[in-house]
Protein backbone atom coordinates (compact mmCIF):
# COMPACT_ATOMS: atom_id res chain seq x y z
CA UNK A 1 0.00 0.00 0.00
CA UNK A 2 1.02 3.56 -0.48
CA UNK A 3 2.94 5.55 2.07
CA UNK A 4 0.51 8.37 1.76
CA UNK A 5 -1.43 8.97 4.99
CA UNK A 6 -5.11 8.06 4.92
CA UNK A 7 -6.23 11.42 6.26
CA UNK A 8 -4.41 14.70 5.80
CA UNK A 9 -5.57 17.98 7.28
CA UNK A 10 -4.07 21.25 6.15
CA UNK A 11 -4.68 24.40 8.12
CA UNK A 12 -8.26 23.40 8.84
CA UNK A 13 -10.47 26.18 10.22
CA UNK A 14 -14.06 26.12 11.41
CA UNK A 15 -15.73 29.30 12.55
CA UNK A 16 -19.22 29.52 14.00
CA UNK A 17 -21.09 32.81 13.80
CA UNK A 18 -22.37 34.29 17.05
CA UNK A 19 -25.63 36.07 16.38
CA UNK A 20 -27.11 38.69 18.59
CA UNK A 21 -29.52 41.59 18.80
CA UNK A 22 -33.03 41.92 17.47
CA UNK A 23 -32.06 41.41 13.85
CA UNK A 24 -29.92 38.35 14.54
CA UNK A 25 -26.91 39.93 12.96
CA UNK A 26 -23.56 38.28 13.30
CA UNK A 27 -21.74 39.99 16.15
CA UNK A 28 -18.72 37.71 16.55
CA UNK A 29 -17.22 34.41 15.47
CA UNK A 30 -16.14 31.44 17.52
CA UNK A 31 -12.96 29.90 16.24
CA UNK A 32 -13.77 26.35 17.21
CA UNK A 33 -10.97 24.96 15.09
CA UNK A 34 -8.29 27.54 14.35
CA UNK A 35 -5.89 26.02 11.87
CA UNK A 36 -5.17 22.35 12.43
CA UNK A 37 -2.59 20.52 10.38
CA UNK A 38 -2.06 16.84 10.97
CA UNK A 39 -2.10 13.51 9.22
CA UNK A 40 -3.25 10.05 10.18
CA UNK A 41 -1.71 6.94 8.65
CA UNK A 42 -3.52 3.76 7.75
CA UNK A 43 -4.14 1.43 10.65
CA UNK A 44 -3.01 3.74 13.40
CA UNK A 45 -4.99 5.06 16.33
CA UNK A 46 -4.56 8.72 17.06
CA UNK A 47 -5.77 9.99 20.40
CA UNK A 48 -7.00 13.56 20.52
CA UNK A 49 -7.17 15.16 23.95
CA UNK A 50 -8.01 18.58 25.29
CA UNK A 51 -10.32 20.39 27.67
CA UNK A 52 -14.03 20.84 27.02
CA UNK A 53 -14.59 23.44 24.35
CA UNK A 54 -11.16 23.18 22.77
CA UNK A 55 -12.64 22.04 19.45
CA UNK A 56 -11.99 18.29 19.62
CA UNK A 57 -15.52 17.29 18.73
CA UNK A 58 -15.78 19.97 16.06
CA UNK A 59 -12.63 18.58 14.49
CA UNK A 60 -14.15 15.09 14.61
CA UNK A 61 -17.30 16.31 12.90
CA UNK A 62 -15.30 18.15 10.25
CA UNK A 63 -13.42 14.94 9.52
CA UNK A 64 -16.66 13.03 9.06
CA UNK A 65 -18.03 16.01 7.10
CA UNK A 66 -21.01 16.46 9.38
CA UNK A 67 -19.78 20.05 9.31
CA UNK A 68 -18.27 21.95 6.43
CA UNK A 69 -14.89 23.58 7.12
CA UNK A 70 -14.62 27.37 6.80
CA UNK A 71 -11.20 27.05 5.21
CA UNK A 72 -8.34 24.62 4.91
CA UNK A 73 -8.26 21.22 3.31
CA UNK A 74 -9.21 17.65 4.15
CA UNK A 75 -7.63 15.00 1.96
CA UNK A 76 -9.02 11.51 2.44
CA UNK A 77 -7.15 8.71 0.69
CA UNK A 78 -5.82 11.13 -1.89
CA UNK A 79 -9.15 12.83 -2.65
CA UNK A 80 -10.07 16.34 -1.58
CA UNK A 81 -13.36 16.07 0.31
CA UNK A 82 -13.29 19.50 1.94
CA UNK A 83 -16.28 21.03 0.19
CA UNK A 84 -18.13 18.09 -1.31
CA UNK A 85 -21.90 18.19 -0.93
CA UNK A 86 -24.87 15.82 -0.95
CA UNK A 87 -24.53 12.93 -3.36
CA UNK A 88 -20.84 13.55 -4.01
CA UNK A 89 -20.20 12.66 -0.39
CA UNK A 90 -21.91 9.30 -0.49
CA UNK A 91 -18.89 7.15 -1.42
CA UNK A 92 -16.96 8.93 1.32
CA UNK A 93 -19.76 8.30 3.85
CA UNK A 94 -19.34 4.59 3.31
CA UNK A 95 -15.67 4.71 4.29
CA UNK A 96 -15.78 7.12 7.23
CA UNK A 97 -17.94 6.65 10.29
CA UNK A 98 -18.42 8.22 13.67
CA UNK A 99 -19.17 6.86 17.15
CA UNK A 100 -20.92 9.32 19.41
CA UNK A 101 -20.35 10.28 22.99
CA UNK A 102 -23.83 9.96 24.46
CA UNK A 103 -25.28 6.49 23.95
CA UNK A 104 -28.66 7.74 25.15
CA UNK A 105 -29.14 10.23 22.33
CA UNK A 106 -27.31 8.52 19.52
CA UNK A 107 -29.91 5.82 18.85
CA UNK A 108 -33.33 6.53 17.36
CA UNK A 109 -35.74 5.67 20.20
CA UNK A 110 -38.45 4.55 17.76
CA UNK A 111 -36.36 2.24 15.64
CA UNK A 112 -35.54 -1.35 16.48
CA UNK A 113 -31.87 -1.77 17.16
CA UNK A 114 -31.41 -4.16 14.25
CA UNK A 115 -32.83 -1.59 11.84
CA UNK A 116 -30.60 1.13 13.27
CA UNK A 117 -27.57 -1.07 12.68
CA UNK A 118 -28.56 -2.09 9.17
CA UNK A 119 -29.41 1.47 8.12
CA UNK A 120 -26.02 1.95 6.48
CA UNK A 121 -26.45 -1.21 4.39
CA UNK A 122 -29.92 -0.10 3.33
CA UNK A 123 -28.80 3.40 2.41
CA UNK A 124 -25.97 2.09 0.26
CA UNK A 125 -28.08 -0.69 -1.24
CA UNK A 126 -25.88 -3.48 0.03
CA UNK A 127 -27.32 -6.98 0.10
CA UNK A 128 -30.96 -8.11 0.21
CA UNK A 129 -33.05 -8.44 3.32
CA UNK A 130 -31.66 -11.81 4.40
CA UNK A 131 -28.06 -10.84 3.81
CA UNK A 132 -28.54 -7.70 5.82
CA UNK A 133 -30.07 -9.63 8.67
CA UNK A 134 -27.11 -12.03 8.64
CA UNK A 135 -24.66 -9.17 8.74
CA UNK A 136 -26.53 -7.48 11.59
CA UNK A 137 -26.42 -10.74 13.53
CA UNK A 138 -22.71 -11.10 12.87
CA UNK A 139 -22.11 -7.50 13.88
CA UNK A 140 -24.13 -7.87 17.08
CA UNK A 141 -22.08 -10.91 18.04
CA UNK A 142 -18.88 -9.09 17.16
CA UNK A 143 -19.67 -6.32 19.64
CA UNK A 144 -20.71 -8.78 22.32
CA UNK A 145 -24.49 -8.71 22.00
CA UNK A 146 -26.87 -11.43 20.90
CA UNK A 147 -28.82 -11.97 17.70
CA UNK A 148 -32.23 -11.66 19.35
CA UNK A 149 -31.35 -8.15 20.53
CA UNK A 150 -31.94 -6.93 16.98
CA UNK A 151 -35.69 -6.73 17.46
CA UNK A 152 -35.47 -4.73 20.70
CA UNK A 153 -35.69 -1.00 21.22
CA UNK A 154 -32.90 1.23 22.56
CA UNK A 155 -34.62 1.96 25.87
CA UNK A 156 -34.33 -1.70 26.78
CA UNK A 157 -30.52 -1.51 26.90
CA UNK A 158 -27.96 -0.16 29.34
CA UNK A 159 -25.54 2.62 28.46
CA UNK A 160 -22.69 0.23 27.73
CA UNK A 161 -24.89 -1.97 25.55
CA UNK A 162 -26.15 1.06 23.66
CA UNK A 163 -22.60 2.16 23.00
CA UNK A 164 -21.89 -1.30 21.60
CA UNK A 165 -24.89 -0.86 19.32
CA UNK A 166 -23.52 2.51 18.23
CA UNK A 167 -20.21 0.85 17.44
CA UNK A 168 -21.97 -1.90 15.48
CA UNK A 169 -23.85 0.70 13.46
CA UNK A 170 -20.64 2.54 12.65
CA UNK A 171 -18.70 -0.58 11.69
CA UNK A 172 -21.26 -2.46 9.60
CA UNK A 173 -20.22 -0.61 6.45
CA UNK A 174 -16.65 -1.77 7.08
CA UNK A 175 -15.27 1.76 7.05
CA UNK A 176 -11.57 2.56 6.72
CA UNK A 177 -11.61 5.44 9.15
CA UNK A 178 -13.65 5.88 12.31
CA UNK A 179 -13.90 8.94 14.51
CA UNK A 180 -14.74 7.94 18.06
CA UNK A 181 -16.01 11.09 19.73
CA UNK A 182 -15.49 10.47 23.46
CA UNK A 183 -17.10 7.04 23.18
CA UNK A 184 -16.57 6.12 26.80
CA UNK A 185 -16.85 9.37 28.75
CA UNK A 186 -20.57 8.88 29.39
CA UNK A 187 -20.08 5.37 30.79
CA UNK A 188 -19.22 3.90 34.18
CA UNK A 189 -15.55 3.16 34.72
CA UNK A 190 -15.97 -0.62 34.63
CA UNK A 191 -18.00 -0.39 31.43
CA UNK A 192 -15.46 2.06 30.00
CA UNK A 193 -12.78 -0.60 30.14
CA UNK A 194 -15.02 -3.13 28.37
CA UNK A 195 -15.90 -0.75 25.57
CA UNK A 196 -12.29 0.39 25.20
CA UNK A 197 -11.05 -3.17 24.92
CA UNK A 198 -13.79 -3.93 22.43
CA UNK A 199 -12.73 -0.97 20.30
CA UNK A 200 -9.12 -2.06 20.49
CA UNK A 201 -9.94 -5.63 19.46
CA UNK A 202 -12.17 -4.50 16.60
CA UNK A 203 -9.52 -2.09 15.43
CA UNK A 204 -6.93 -4.80 14.94
CA UNK A 205 -9.49 -7.30 13.64
CA UNK A 206 -11.00 -4.99 11.04
CA UNK A 207 -7.84 -3.02 10.28
CA UNK A 208 -9.38 0.29 11.24
CA UNK A 209 -7.83 3.70 11.35
CA UNK A 210 -9.13 5.43 14.42
CA UNK A 211 -9.27 8.98 15.69
CA UNK A 212 -10.05 8.61 19.35
CA UNK A 213 -11.28 11.82 20.97
CA UNK A 214 -11.21 12.05 24.76
CA UNK A 215 -10.63 14.43 27.60
CA UNK A 216 -8.98 11.78 29.68
CA UNK A 217 -5.29 11.14 29.10
CA UNK A 218 -5.36 7.79 30.88
CA UNK A 219 -8.02 6.47 28.50
CA UNK A 220 -6.10 7.74 25.49
CA UNK A 221 -2.86 6.17 26.68
CA UNK A 222 -4.55 2.79 26.74
CA UNK A 223 -5.67 2.85 23.13
CA UNK A 224 -3.55 5.24 21.04
CA UNK A 225 -0.41 4.87 18.95
CA UNK A 226 0.00 8.62 18.67
CA UNK A 227 -1.53 11.38 20.73
CA UNK A 228 -2.43 14.93 19.77
CA UNK A 229 -3.08 17.55 22.41
CA UNK A 230 -5.45 20.33 21.47
CA UNK A 231 -5.81 23.73 23.07
CA UNK A 232 -8.30 26.38 21.94
CA UNK A 233 -8.69 25.00 18.44
CA UNK A 234 -5.01 24.40 17.74
CA UNK A 235 -2.76 21.40 18.09
CA UNK A 236 -0.33 22.03 20.94
CA UNK A 237 1.66 18.86 20.61
CA UNK A 238 1.53 15.66 18.63
CA UNK A 239 3.76 12.63 18.96
CA UNK A 240 3.81 8.93 19.66
CA UNK A 241 2.39 7.77 22.95
CA UNK A 242 5.70 7.00 24.69
CA UNK A 243 7.34 10.34 24.05
CA UNK A 244 4.25 12.25 25.04
CA UNK A 245 3.87 10.56 28.38
CA UNK A 246 7.60 10.37 29.18
CA UNK A 247 8.91 13.49 27.60
CA UNK A 248 6.21 16.11 27.04
CA UNK A 249 7.44 19.24 25.30
CA UNK A 250 4.54 21.64 25.48
CA UNK A 251 3.93 23.19 28.91
CA UNK A 252 0.20 22.56 28.46
CA UNK A 253 0.82 18.84 28.02
CA UNK A 254 2.95 18.88 31.17
CA UNK A 255 0.10 20.42 33.10
CA UNK A 256 -2.38 17.86 31.75
CA UNK A 257 -0.11 14.95 32.58
CA UNK A 258 0.49 16.17 36.10
CA UNK A 259 -3.25 16.22 36.62
CA UNK A 260 -3.63 12.46 36.08
CA UNK A 261 -4.38 10.97 39.50
CA UNK A 262 -1.93 8.28 40.60
CA UNK A 263 -3.29 5.63 42.99
CA UNK A 264 -0.30 5.80 45.36
CA UNK A 265 -0.59 8.08 48.38
CA UNK A 266 3.14 7.95 49.22
CA UNK A 267 4.33 9.07 45.86
CA UNK A 268 5.31 12.72 45.87
CA UNK A 269 3.48 14.74 43.31
CA UNK A 270 4.89 17.76 41.65
CA UNK A 271 1.86 19.14 40.00
CA UNK A 272 1.95 21.91 37.50
CA UNK A 273 -1.16 23.84 38.35
CA UNK A 274 -2.34 26.17 35.64
CA UNK A 275 -3.35 29.68 36.52
CA UNK A 276 -6.59 31.20 35.29
CA UNK A 277 -9.31 29.93 33.00
CA UNK A 278 -9.41 28.73 29.43
CA UNK A 279 -9.78 31.93 27.38
CA UNK A 280 -12.91 32.33 25.30
CA UNK A 281 -12.58 31.14 21.71
CA UNK A 282 -14.62 34.21 20.69
CA UNK A 283 -11.77 36.46 21.77
CA UNK A 284 -8.62 34.34 21.92
CA UNK A 285 -5.33 35.76 23.24
CA UNK A 286 -2.78 37.14 20.80
CA UNK A 287 0.24 35.11 19.74
CA UNK A 288 0.38 31.71 21.37
CA UNK A 289 -3.12 31.00 22.70
CA UNK A 290 -1.57 29.46 25.79
CA UNK A 291 0.70 32.34 26.81
CA UNK A 292 -1.53 33.95 29.51
CA UNK A 293 -1.45 30.70 31.49
CA UNK A 294 1.98 29.46 30.51
CA UNK A 295 4.66 29.19 33.22
CA UNK A 296 7.52 29.57 30.71
CA UNK A 297 6.09 32.22 28.39
CA UNK A 298 8.60 34.77 27.15
CA UNK A 299 7.29 38.30 26.93
CA UNK A 300 7.63 39.95 23.56
CA UNK A 301 7.59 36.64 21.72
CA UNK A 302 4.86 34.33 22.98
CA UNK A 303 2.26 37.07 23.25
CA UNK A 304 2.99 38.37 19.74
CA UNK A 305 3.81 35.53 17.39
CA UNK A 306 1.69 32.47 16.69
CA UNK A 307 3.91 29.41 17.16
CA UNK A 308 3.97 26.76 14.41
CA UNK A 309 4.06 23.02 14.93
CA UNK A 310 7.77 22.24 14.76
CA UNK A 311 9.92 19.17 15.24
CA UNK A 312 11.79 18.70 18.45
CA UNK A 313 15.58 18.63 18.23
CA UNK A 314 15.80 15.02 19.32
CA UNK A 315 12.82 13.35 17.66
CA UNK A 316 11.61 14.21 14.17
CA UNK A 317 8.16 12.71 14.82
CA UNK A 318 7.62 14.78 17.92
CA UNK A 319 5.93 18.04 17.02
CA UNK A 320 4.99 20.84 19.36
CA UNK A 321 3.92 24.42 18.85
CA UNK A 322 5.93 26.26 21.47
CA UNK A 323 8.42 29.07 20.87
CA UNK A 324 10.44 28.15 23.91
CA UNK A 325 10.66 24.38 23.47
CA UNK A 326 10.66 23.81 19.72
CA UNK A 327 10.42 27.23 18.10
CA UNK A 328 12.95 29.95 17.51
CA UNK A 329 13.82 30.48 21.17
CA UNK A 330 14.72 26.81 21.46
CA UNK A 331 17.04 26.97 18.49
CA UNK A 332 19.01 29.85 20.03
CA UNK A 333 19.69 28.24 23.37
Amino acid sequence: MSDRPLVELTDLVKEFPVKGGVLQRQVATVNAVAGVTMSISRGETVGLVGESGCGKSTLGRLLTRLLEPTSGKIIFDGADITHLKGKQLKPFRRRVQIIFQDPYSSLDPRTQVGNSISEGLRLHGIGDKDERRDRVTKMLELVGLEAHHASRFPHEFSGGQRQRIGIARALILEPDFVVADEPVSALDVSVQAQVLNLLKELQSELDLTLLFIAHNLAVVEHISDRVAVMYLGRIAEITDRESLYKNPLHPYTEALLSAIPIPDPDRPRNRTILQGEVPSPIDPPSGCFFHPRCPIAVEGVCDVEVPQLEQSTTNADHLASCHVRTGRLAAKS
Binding site: L66, R93, R94, V96, F100, R110, R152, F153, A170, L173
Partner: protein, 317 residues
Protein backbone atom coordinates in the same frame (compact mmCIF):
# COMPACT_ATOMS: atom_id res chain seq x y z
CA UNK B 1 -40.21 -32.12 49.47
CA UNK B 2 -39.70 -33.54 46.01
CA UNK B 3 -42.88 -32.04 44.71
CA UNK B 4 -41.87 -28.63 46.04
CA UNK B 5 -38.53 -28.77 44.27
CA UNK B 6 -40.26 -29.87 41.13
CA UNK B 7 -42.72 -27.01 41.27
CA UNK B 8 -39.81 -24.58 41.66
CA UNK B 9 -38.21 -26.10 38.59
CA UNK B 10 -41.41 -25.76 36.65
CA UNK B 11 -41.76 -22.17 37.74
CA UNK B 12 -38.21 -21.40 36.69
CA UNK B 13 -38.73 -23.05 33.33
CA UNK B 14 -41.90 -21.08 32.85
CA UNK B 15 -40.30 -17.78 33.70
CA UNK B 16 -37.38 -18.51 31.38
CA UNK B 17 -39.81 -19.31 28.62
CA UNK B 18 -41.79 -16.21 29.39
CA UNK B 19 -38.63 -14.15 29.11
CA UNK B 20 -37.93 -15.53 25.68
CA UNK B 21 -41.46 -15.15 24.45
CA UNK B 22 -41.98 -11.64 25.72
CA UNK B 23 -42.27 -9.32 22.78
CA UNK B 24 -39.99 -6.31 22.59
CA UNK B 25 -41.57 -3.31 24.24
CA UNK B 26 -42.06 -0.74 21.54
CA UNK B 27 -42.85 2.84 22.41
CA UNK B 28 -46.47 2.28 21.51
CA UNK B 29 -46.85 -0.72 23.78
CA UNK B 30 -45.36 1.23 26.65
CA UNK B 31 -47.64 4.15 25.91
CA UNK B 32 -50.74 1.98 25.85
CA UNK B 33 -49.70 0.40 29.11
CA UNK B 34 -49.27 3.81 30.75
CA UNK B 35 -52.46 5.17 29.22
CA UNK B 36 -54.43 2.32 30.74
CA UNK B 37 -53.20 3.23 34.17
CA UNK B 38 -54.90 6.64 34.08
CA UNK B 39 -58.55 6.89 34.99
CA UNK B 40 -59.27 10.28 33.40
CA UNK B 41 -57.77 9.23 30.08
CA UNK B 42 -59.74 6.02 30.08
CA UNK B 43 -62.97 7.92 30.89
CA UNK B 44 -62.23 10.22 27.94
CA UNK B 45 -61.57 7.25 25.70
CA UNK B 46 -64.86 5.73 26.89
CA UNK B 47 -66.85 8.88 26.09
CA UNK B 48 -65.24 9.24 22.68
CA UNK B 49 -65.78 5.58 21.81
CA UNK B 50 -69.43 5.83 22.88
CA UNK B 51 -69.91 8.93 20.73
CA UNK B 52 -68.30 7.30 17.71
CA UNK B 53 -70.49 4.21 18.08
CA UNK B 54 -73.51 6.46 18.50
CA UNK B 55 -72.66 8.28 15.28
CA UNK B 56 -72.08 5.07 13.32
CA UNK B 57 -75.24 3.34 14.54
CA UNK B 58 -77.42 6.46 14.58
CA UNK B 59 -80.12 4.94 12.31
CA UNK B 60 -80.49 2.00 14.71
CA UNK B 61 -80.42 4.01 17.94
CA UNK B 62 -82.57 6.93 16.86
CA UNK B 63 -86.32 6.17 17.06
CA UNK B 64 -87.21 8.65 14.27
CA UNK B 65 -85.47 10.08 11.23
CA UNK B 66 -83.87 13.36 12.34
CA UNK B 67 -85.84 15.60 10.00
CA UNK B 68 -89.23 13.91 10.24
CA UNK B 69 -91.97 16.33 11.26
CA UNK B 70 -94.37 14.47 13.53
CA UNK B 71 -97.36 16.77 13.21
CA UNK B 72 -100.41 14.75 12.15
CA UNK B 73 -98.57 11.46 12.72
CA UNK B 74 -98.56 11.49 16.49
CA UNK B 75 -100.36 13.32 19.21
CA UNK B 76 -97.54 15.76 19.94
CA UNK B 77 -97.12 19.53 19.73
CA UNK B 78 -94.15 21.81 19.26
CA UNK B 79 -91.67 21.97 22.16
CA UNK B 80 -93.28 19.22 24.17
CA UNK B 81 -91.26 18.41 27.29
CA UNK B 82 -89.47 15.03 27.51
CA UNK B 83 -91.72 12.05 28.07
CA UNK B 84 -90.13 8.82 29.32
CA UNK B 85 -92.51 5.99 30.10
CA UNK B 86 -90.43 4.30 32.78
CA UNK B 87 -90.09 7.58 34.63
CA UNK B 88 -93.86 7.88 35.00
CA UNK B 89 -94.91 9.64 31.81
CA UNK B 90 -98.43 8.75 30.71
CA UNK B 91 -98.38 5.50 28.70
CA UNK B 92 -100.84 7.01 26.21
CA UNK B 93 -98.61 9.87 25.06
CA UNK B 94 -95.83 8.88 22.60
CA UNK B 95 -92.36 8.58 24.15
CA UNK B 96 -89.85 11.34 23.29
CA UNK B 97 -87.05 11.10 25.83
CA UNK B 98 -85.71 14.56 25.00
CA UNK B 99 -89.02 16.03 23.97
CA UNK B 100 -89.84 17.59 20.63
CA UNK B 101 -88.44 20.73 19.03
CA UNK B 102 -90.16 23.79 17.58
CA UNK B 103 -90.93 21.99 14.33
CA UNK B 104 -92.23 18.94 16.19
CA UNK B 105 -89.25 16.68 15.44
CA UNK B 106 -87.88 14.13 17.91
CA UNK B 107 -85.10 15.95 19.75
CA UNK B 108 -83.37 12.72 20.82
CA UNK B 109 -83.00 11.53 17.22
CA UNK B 110 -81.64 14.91 16.20
CA UNK B 111 -79.05 14.91 19.00
CA UNK B 112 -77.94 11.40 17.99
CA UNK B 113 -77.58 12.36 14.33
CA UNK B 114 -75.83 15.55 15.40
CA UNK B 115 -72.91 13.40 16.62
CA UNK B 116 -72.33 12.37 13.00
CA UNK B 117 -71.94 15.94 11.79
CA UNK B 118 -69.84 17.10 14.72
CA UNK B 119 -67.47 14.14 14.74
CA UNK B 120 -66.88 14.05 10.99
CA UNK B 121 -66.30 17.78 11.02
CA UNK B 122 -63.92 17.49 13.97
CA UNK B 123 -61.89 14.68 12.40
CA UNK B 124 -61.76 16.25 8.96
CA UNK B 125 -60.66 19.68 10.11
CA UNK B 126 -58.00 18.23 12.38
CA UNK B 127 -56.73 15.90 9.66
CA UNK B 128 -56.44 18.75 7.16
CA UNK B 129 -54.84 21.10 9.69
CA UNK B 130 -52.48 18.39 10.91
CA UNK B 131 -51.31 17.43 7.43
CA UNK B 132 -50.90 20.96 6.11
CA UNK B 133 -49.53 22.39 9.36
CA UNK B 134 -47.01 19.67 10.03
CA UNK B 135 -45.87 19.68 6.42
CA UNK B 136 -45.10 23.41 6.50
CA UNK B 137 -43.69 23.19 10.01
CA UNK B 138 -41.41 20.29 9.13
CA UNK B 139 -40.10 21.90 5.95
CA UNK B 140 -39.67 25.29 7.65
CA UNK B 141 -37.77 23.76 10.53
CA UNK B 142 -35.67 21.52 8.36
CA UNK B 143 -34.78 23.97 5.61
CA UNK B 144 -34.50 27.03 7.83
CA UNK B 145 -33.35 30.42 6.58
CA UNK B 146 -35.64 32.73 4.63
CA UNK B 147 -38.10 29.94 3.81
CA UNK B 148 -38.60 29.32 7.51
CA UNK B 149 -39.02 33.03 8.09
CA UNK B 150 -41.69 33.50 5.44
CA UNK B 151 -43.76 30.49 6.49
CA UNK B 152 -43.60 31.24 10.17
CA UNK B 153 -44.49 34.93 9.70
CA UNK B 154 -47.58 33.87 7.73
CA UNK B 155 -48.46 31.55 10.60
CA UNK B 156 -47.97 34.42 13.05
CA UNK B 157 -50.40 36.54 11.06
CA UNK B 158 -53.03 33.80 11.23
CA UNK B 159 -52.39 33.38 14.94
CA UNK B 160 -52.71 37.14 15.42
CA UNK B 161 -56.48 37.00 14.91
CA UNK B 162 -58.84 35.50 17.46
CA UNK B 163 -59.57 32.13 15.90
CA UNK B 164 -63.37 32.32 15.83
CA UNK B 165 -63.26 35.85 14.38
CA UNK B 166 -60.94 34.73 11.61
CA UNK B 167 -63.13 31.69 10.93
CA UNK B 168 -66.16 34.00 10.66
CA UNK B 169 -64.26 36.21 8.22
CA UNK B 170 -63.25 33.24 6.08
CA UNK B 171 -66.81 31.86 6.02
CA UNK B 172 -68.07 35.33 5.17
CA UNK B 173 -65.82 35.28 2.12
CA UNK B 174 -66.55 31.67 1.09
CA UNK B 175 -70.22 31.76 1.96
CA UNK B 176 -72.03 29.97 4.78
CA UNK B 177 -72.31 26.19 4.78
CA UNK B 178 -70.84 23.14 6.45
CA UNK B 179 -67.96 22.59 3.98
CA UNK B 180 -66.85 26.19 4.13
CA UNK B 181 -67.02 26.15 7.93
CA UNK B 182 -64.82 23.05 7.82
CA UNK B 183 -62.26 24.80 5.62
CA UNK B 184 -62.31 27.91 7.80
CA UNK B 185 -61.77 25.98 11.01
CA UNK B 186 -58.97 23.96 9.43
CA UNK B 187 -57.15 27.09 8.25
CA UNK B 188 -57.44 28.65 11.68
CA UNK B 189 -55.95 25.52 13.29
CA UNK B 190 -52.95 25.18 10.95
CA UNK B 191 -50.46 27.47 12.77
CA UNK B 192 -50.59 25.49 16.03
CA UNK B 193 -49.50 22.31 14.25
CA UNK B 194 -46.92 24.11 12.14
CA UNK B 195 -45.31 25.67 15.20
CA UNK B 196 -45.15 22.49 17.24
CA UNK B 197 -43.83 20.51 14.28
CA UNK B 198 -41.18 23.12 13.55
CA UNK B 199 -39.99 23.19 17.16
CA UNK B 200 -39.76 19.40 17.20
CA UNK B 201 -37.87 19.26 13.93
CA UNK B 202 -35.43 21.94 15.07
CA UNK B 203 -34.62 19.91 18.17
CA UNK B 204 -34.51 16.51 16.50
CA UNK B 205 -32.40 17.47 13.50
CA UNK B 206 -29.51 18.32 15.84
CA UNK B 207 -29.74 15.04 17.73
CA UNK B 208 -26.96 12.50 17.52
CA UNK B 209 -29.09 9.83 15.88
CA UNK B 210 -29.90 12.15 12.98
CA UNK B 211 -26.22 13.06 12.71
CA UNK B 212 -25.45 9.35 12.66
CA UNK B 213 -27.87 8.87 9.77
CA UNK B 214 -26.19 11.72 7.90
CA UNK B 215 -22.82 10.10 8.48
CA UNK B 216 -24.22 6.84 7.13
CA UNK B 217 -25.20 8.66 3.94
CA UNK B 218 -28.93 9.39 4.29
CA UNK B 219 -30.40 12.03 1.98
CA UNK B 220 -32.46 14.94 3.30
CA UNK B 221 -35.70 13.29 2.27
CA UNK B 222 -34.79 10.01 3.92
CA UNK B 223 -33.78 11.82 7.09
CA UNK B 224 -36.96 13.84 7.25
CA UNK B 225 -39.31 10.92 6.58
CA UNK B 226 -37.50 8.14 8.42
CA UNK B 227 -35.92 9.85 11.39
CA UNK B 228 -37.23 13.34 12.03
CA UNK B 229 -40.99 13.15 11.41
CA UNK B 230 -41.65 9.85 13.24
CA UNK B 231 -39.89 11.19 16.31
CA UNK B 232 -41.66 14.54 16.09
CA UNK B 233 -45.17 13.09 15.96
CA UNK B 234 -45.75 12.44 19.66
CA UNK B 235 -46.80 15.95 20.75
CA UNK B 236 -48.78 16.35 17.53
CA UNK B 237 -50.91 13.33 18.40
CA UNK B 238 -51.80 14.99 21.69
CA UNK B 239 -52.42 18.33 20.03
CA UNK B 240 -54.65 16.72 17.41
CA UNK B 241 -56.78 14.96 20.03
CA UNK B 242 -57.28 18.22 21.89
CA UNK B 243 -57.78 19.92 18.52
CA UNK B 244 -60.82 17.78 17.72
CA UNK B 245 -62.53 19.27 20.78
CA UNK B 246 -61.67 22.83 19.73
CA UNK B 247 -62.81 22.19 16.17
CA UNK B 248 -66.17 20.79 17.30
CA UNK B 249 -66.66 23.76 19.59
CA UNK B 250 -65.81 26.23 16.84
CA UNK B 251 -68.06 24.43 14.37
CA UNK B 252 -70.90 24.63 16.87
CA UNK B 253 -70.10 28.32 17.34
CA UNK B 254 -70.20 29.00 13.61
CA UNK B 255 -73.43 27.04 13.24
CA UNK B 256 -74.90 28.93 16.17
CA UNK B 257 -74.17 32.14 14.30
CA UNK B 258 -75.84 30.68 11.21
CA UNK B 259 -72.59 30.35 9.26
CA UNK B 260 -72.06 26.62 9.57
CA UNK B 261 -74.58 23.83 9.16
CA UNK B 262 -77.82 25.08 7.67
CA UNK B 263 -81.29 23.97 8.73
CA UNK B 264 -82.74 21.41 8.68
CA UNK B 265 -79.39 19.65 9.33
CA UNK B 266 -79.33 18.40 12.92
CA UNK B 267 -76.18 20.23 14.04
CA UNK B 268 -75.87 20.84 17.78
CA UNK B 269 -74.83 24.48 17.42
CA UNK B 270 -77.64 25.36 15.04
CA UNK B 271 -80.12 23.44 17.22
CA UNK B 272 -79.08 25.67 20.11
CA UNK B 273 -79.42 28.77 17.97
CA UNK B 274 -82.90 28.02 16.68
CA UNK B 275 -84.32 27.47 20.19
CA UNK B 276 -82.37 30.08 22.14
CA UNK B 277 -85.42 32.38 22.41
CA UNK B 278 -87.38 29.63 24.13
CA UNK B 279 -84.79 29.02 26.80
CA UNK B 280 -87.31 29.63 29.60
CA UNK B 281 -90.35 27.93 28.11
CA UNK B 282 -88.57 24.86 26.67
CA UNK B 283 -85.18 24.56 28.42
CA UNK B 284 -84.73 20.95 27.30
CA UNK B 285 -84.21 22.07 23.68
CA UNK B 286 -81.17 24.10 24.71
CA UNK B 287 -79.97 21.77 27.42
CA UNK B 288 -79.62 18.54 25.43
CA UNK B 289 -77.63 19.84 22.42
CA UNK B 290 -75.52 21.93 24.79
CA UNK B 291 -74.89 18.92 26.96
CA UNK B 292 -73.91 16.88 23.90
CA UNK B 293 -71.35 19.52 22.91
CA UNK B 294 -69.98 19.64 26.43
CA UNK B 295 -69.71 15.87 26.69
CA UNK B 296 -67.89 15.58 23.36
CA UNK B 297 -65.42 18.33 24.19
CA UNK B 298 -64.87 16.88 27.65
CA UNK B 299 -64.29 13.41 26.21
CA UNK B 300 -61.66 14.57 23.74
CA UNK B 301 -59.96 16.79 26.29
CA UNK B 302 -59.73 14.01 28.87
CA UNK B 303 -58.41 11.64 26.24
CA UNK B 304 -55.85 14.18 25.04
CA UNK B 305 -54.66 14.83 28.58
CA UNK B 306 -54.34 11.12 29.21
CA UNK B 307 -52.41 10.66 25.98
CA UNK B 308 -50.06 13.49 26.85
CA UNK B 309 -49.31 12.00 30.25
CA UNK B 310 -48.79 8.59 28.70
CA UNK B 311 -46.53 9.84 25.91
CA UNK B 312 -44.43 12.42 27.74
CA UNK B 313 -42.14 10.21 29.81
CA UNK B 314 -41.40 8.17 26.70
CA UNK B 315 -39.73 11.13 25.05
CA UNK B 316 -35.95 11.06 24.77
CA UNK B 317 -35.55 7.70 26.36
Amino acid sequence: MISRQKSIEILEAQSAQHDLLEKPLSQWRLTIRRFRGRTSGMVGLGIVTALILMAIFAPIIAPYPPNQVLIGKEDVGPRDPPCVHILGCDENTPQHIMGTDGNVRDEFSRVIYGARISLTLGFFTVTIALLVGSFFGAVAGYVGGWFDNIIMRIMDVILGFPSLLLAIAIVAVLGPGLENALIAIAIVAIPAYARVMRAQVLAIKESDYVQASIALGASSRQLLLRRVVPNALTPLVVLATLGVATAILEAAGLSFLGLGAQPPNPEWGSMLASERNNLFTAPHLVFFPGFAIMLTVLGFNLMGDGLRDALDPALNR
